[in-house]
Amino acid sequence: MKSILALMLLFPLTGAVFQALFGRKVARRVSEAAACLAVGGSFMLALAAFILGWGATFTLSFFEWIAVDSFRVAADVLFNPLSALMALMVTFVSTIIHIYSVGYMHEDRDYTRYFCYLNIFVFSMLIIALADNLVFLFVGWEGVGFCSYVLIGFWYSDIPRATAGRKAFLLTRIGDVAFGIAIGLFFARFNSTAISFINAHAAELDAGAATIFGLLLLWSAMGKSAQLPLTVWLPDAMAGPTPVSALIHAATMVTAGVYLLMRLYPVLSLSSTAMAAVAGVGMVTALYAALSALGQRDIKKVLAYSTISQLGYMFVAIGAGDIIGSMAFLLSHAFYKSLLFLCAGCILHALHEQGDIFMMGGLKAYMPKVFWVFLAGALSLAAIPATGGFWNKDRLLLAILNNPGDFFNLIWLGALAASFLTSLYTFRLFFAVFAKPVGLAVEEVRPIPRIMTDTLWPLAFLGLTAGYLNLSPEWGGDEWLAGYLAHVQGAIEHIGADPALESQTALYDSALALAGVAVAYMLHGPREFFSFRQLVEWFRAASGAALAGFYLDRFYTVMIARPYKKLSELLWVYADEKMLDGGIVGSGRTLPEFASVLRLWTTGRISTYLGMLFLGFAALACGLAISFYVAF
């Protein structure tokens, strides 16, 4: 088992090293094949580990990484059903996307760099999935942040793209700070940073400490998973190549935050405050992003906001105490959302990177293959009854109701509202792209490489059906996934809600999802239903705000980024270079008697240096003196 897990990690790492060292020297086909094989091999190994390690939970250590005194960090693995499933999903989606990328990148000359980054990404993501020690996990955690940075800005000649990458790295790192602090606190509290140890001893934490840990974990998850208030980087991240958006910004990296909360759920669940915060943040984000998605015109941005919104749902599931539901949601979402992104990649390729959905329309005629798989993804995303997505949402709604109190009732209402919005924005997108004909000329549409369309089918199948893995007994299923995950610490296998409530919930949810489709059809379908000019105007005004993500990004730019830059220049010029100088000369002006002494050596630069030196010394000496005074 150890060698399987080690090889699973080493395959993509070796692939990346190969690309970096030899990628430019070998033929293009070889480089592409090596990249796909590295990840495909990893997938095979993940599958082997999944089967051989069925239901088992164990830890194993590859080597001792950092060891000083009591601070001991090993490169180690905590293997349990959760991590086995995550690794399987990550390698599966990665393999599909690597193959797809061969087609997508076939005109780009910089493919070596692309595949190198992509391989490093898979390596880092697998570390997140498997690592036991939080410091080791942090390697993957920051590694995916780095890969996301370089891949968003992959076409670096275009400054806005590079800037989008930089923004993503910065904002996710604000979350990572909390992760670092959590590591430090865990070490101070438990003298260990291994997840298995922490979870086993979590019960020793008192409520206050648990809340602090819970909130720190939430904050770190918010950065990676683009939850409010750290959402603004994800829509910009769409500047990267589309397969990257599908892999990193839909299926894997952005779910790392959710996954972290599941991994450390025993700590999180100790604090009801932290749990409520997780659910609250998730709910507000889900609504916010769903509304923003309604206003977007760019196909990838609709999907980006949709991802944020869906991640919000996963947070809600965790906050409601149901990690199995959250994991089921995560899996299905990984399939259907990466599918939708890959479809978007096909569409963009065909339309010469023209992404405005209102300039598309009627694409069904030009790309029937893409149409059908896109429909499959859209149905699941909108949680239309009988799709996999529907069962996930059903479980989620029941899990929320399982929590007593007004707060969770409110969350429940929010989740219902968001499910209406989800289906509305999804089918707004669908109808705008495929239904209403705009009259594209046939010659404007480029043919799509077969490799890009053929790789979509497995994702479409899984996107539609993954939810059935967890079909509850009330509907004739056997909750296979829940059974598999049941032994993960903190998991609740069966929600066990009142049957009446259950059918009621299913009814509400399906009604709202279908209503969303209906409204979308009326607004954006092939035929005009509405001619209420006023309504359209009002909607347009609202969507202006939604298009800008309700100005959150602008707020950060004006309130934080610009002042930081401005002040840094002021600080440099006035504090570091002129203040000490000015201080000397200024005091010379105000104190005449002092000035006569100073004037002797306050002319010229040398004297300035002496002044700086003197003042610096004086400041240091004063500081020291105060420090001594306090100590003795």
């Binding site: 990484w65 950092i66 060891a67 000083v68 005194d69 009591s70 760099r113 410091v135 942090f138 390697v139 955690w141 920051e142 590694g143 780095f146 940075y149 800005g153 670096y156 000649s157 400054i159 590079a162 800037t163 930089r166 790295f169 910065l170 790192r173 990572d176 700070v177 670092g180 602090i181 590591i183 430090g184 606190l185 070490f187 101070a188 940073t193 930081y564 830059k565 002040l567 840094s568 220049e569 600080l571 440099w572 570091d576 270079e577 000490l580 630069r605 040398i606 240096y609 002496l610 700086m612 030196l613 610096g616 010394f617 240091l620 000496a621 500081g623 020291l624 420090s627 001594f628 100590a631």
Partner: protein, 495 residues
């Protein structure tokens, strides 16, 4: 052995002076000498990796020197100094290589200064007699003065004068402190000595201890440099030739931090203990203040120079918290910073040789022109922000996680440094590497073999320490255990 390590470069320096008419010969000879020294130290390093007997000192040398004052020529090598000497030898070789093309005037003199500076720095890391330490301390300042002053850029004279003024002020303070310590100890025990071992644990009156400690600390603080006496550093770096910057950032700054660890804290544990909050405060201020200012810089070298101040701030915090974990982190971070920052200075120097500018607003699109150079640039930039898996992360996490037990507040704030560092480094990367390739740089060629030979060892070191720091950390445990152990023991006995 230790004497050979120190005086081999010095002999090379004299030989370089003798060969001043033959620049080519002189370069080759200096390189050979530096390589031989590196080989010596490397073999020592591998010898030390094997499980060695207890006791932190690996090698000691002791001879009487100035009988009348009881000054002794005594050197000692433990894991800490071994790593720093190894770094010195490596950067010594690299700084000769980076100057291969950049320096073409007064070549003999340049190598004389370069090698004698290397000897001085090694002496600082090895001396265990305070008087000898002081001599080596001075020996490293003078060559740097000339290197900046003669081979520097436009504003070199002012920069070098500023550098020397700050350094001399520190040295004077140290000299006064040194002599007073010598006299106090002599008066109290009747035994006049400069030996670090004899002076350690010598009980002094509170006032004396505080005053002498302050003088030492201020002298070392200038070298580190600690906010607010850091203002010499950006100027010195900006004006120095690449080799000067490499030595300055990679080695001279380390001598300050090393001296705090080796001398200031063990000699004056009570005063040191009292100064901890103050040191943590200046470390934190330095970290954020310098990072903030680095963000505004337009000159690439200045930006890296300010980043040095910020990184040194974290090292000061690691030393001040003074437990085994943080001190190990701080020492490792000295090495890491020496590797990474030197590499960044070297890269900026290579770019400067090609573009004749270091202004960020005139850069852009370098990746298209020089992909290999850019890959190295990105690697070292990521090392600088402490990306896990690369060298800096190990030091940072040790300092930060180790500080949590006793100074959680400071550690939480210092974690914020992760973001401010990223802000300026990403700006540096973006404005240099990304963007539309400029037409002026169309003829630019990628790294030459010599340049690659400079960067590859540094890159390997970055990866090796990042992936497998075990051997290096093990080497530090013995000495840090004995130094920190003594300190903590005595601090605990405080009234």
């Amino acid at each position: 052995m230790l004497t050979v390590i120190i005086f081999l470069p010095f002999a090379g320096a004299i030989a370089a002076l003798a060969l001043w008419r033959e620049p080519k010969m002189c370069r080759r000879m200096s390189l050979c000498v530096a390589l031989a020294d590196l080989l010596l130290v490397t073999s020592l390093f591998f010898a030390a990796l094997r499980p060695c007997p207890a006791g932190s000192w690996l090698l000691l040398e002791d001879h009487s020197w100035i009988e009348s004052l009881n000054v002794r020529y005594s050197l000692g090598l433990d894991g800490i100094s071994l790593l720093l000497v190894l770094l010195t030898a490596l950067l010594g070789v690299l700084s000769i290589l980076v100057s291969w093309k950049q320096i073409d005037e007064k070549v003999g003199l340049f190598h004389f200064f370069l090698l004698s500076m290397q000897a001085g720095v090694m002496g600082v890391f090895l001396a265990t007699d305070l008087f000898l330490f002081y001599l080596f301390w001075e020996l490293q300042i003078i060559p740097m003065f000339f290197i900046i002053g003669i081979w520097g850029h436009a504003e070199r004279i002012f920069a070098t004068v500023k550098f020397v003024m700050f350094s001399i002020a520190g040295s004077l303070l140290m000299l006064v402190a040194l002599v007073s310590l010598y006299i106090l100890h002599g008066q109290a025990t009747g035994h006049y000595t400069f030996s670090l071992f004899m002076l350690t644990g010598f009980p002094m009156s509170k006032t004396a201890e505080l005053l002498i400690f302050s003088a030492f600390l201020l002298a070392f603080a200038i070298k580190i440099p600690v906010f607010p006496v850091h203002t010499w550093l950006p100027d010195a770096h900006t004006e120095a030739p690449t080799a000067g910057s490499v030595i300055l950032a990679g080695l001279l700054l380390k001598t300050g931090a090393y001296a705090v660890l080796r001398f200031a804290f063990p000699l004056f544990p009570n005063a040191a203990f009292a100064s901890v909050p103050f040191l943590i405060a200046v470390g934190l201020i330095g970290l954020f203040y310098a990072s903030w200012i680095a963000f505004a810089q337009r000159d690439m070298k200045r930006l890296v120079a300010y980043s040095s101040i910020a990184h040194m701030g974290l090292i000061v915090i690691g030393l001040a918290v003074w437990n085994r974990i943080t001190v190990s982190g701080a020492v490792l971070q000295m090495i890491n910073h020496g590797i990474t920052t030197s590499a960044l200075f070297i890269l900026v120097g290579m770019l400067d040789e090609r573009t004749r500018t270091r202004d960020l607003s005139e850069m852009g699109g370098i990746w298209t022109r020089m992909p290999i150079f850019s890959a190295f640039f990105l690697l070292f930039a990521m090392s600088s922000i402490g990306l896990p898996g690369l060298n800096n992360f190990i030091g940072e996490i040790l300092i930060l996680a180790g500080a949590f037990a006793t100074h959680p507040g400071a550690a939480v704030i210092a974690f914020g440094g992760m973001v401010v560092t990223l802000v300026y480094i990403l700006r540096l990367v973006q404005e240099t590497l990304y963007g539309v390739p400029r037409r002026e740089f169309a003829e630019m060629c990628d790294l030459s073999g010599r340049e690659a030979a400079i960067l590859v060892p540094l890159a390997l070191a970055v990866l090796a320490i990042g992936f497998y720091p075990g051997p290096v950390l093990d080497l530090l445990q013995g000495p840090i255990h004995s130094i920190v152990g003594v300190g903590v023991g005595r601090m605990a006995a405080l009234p």
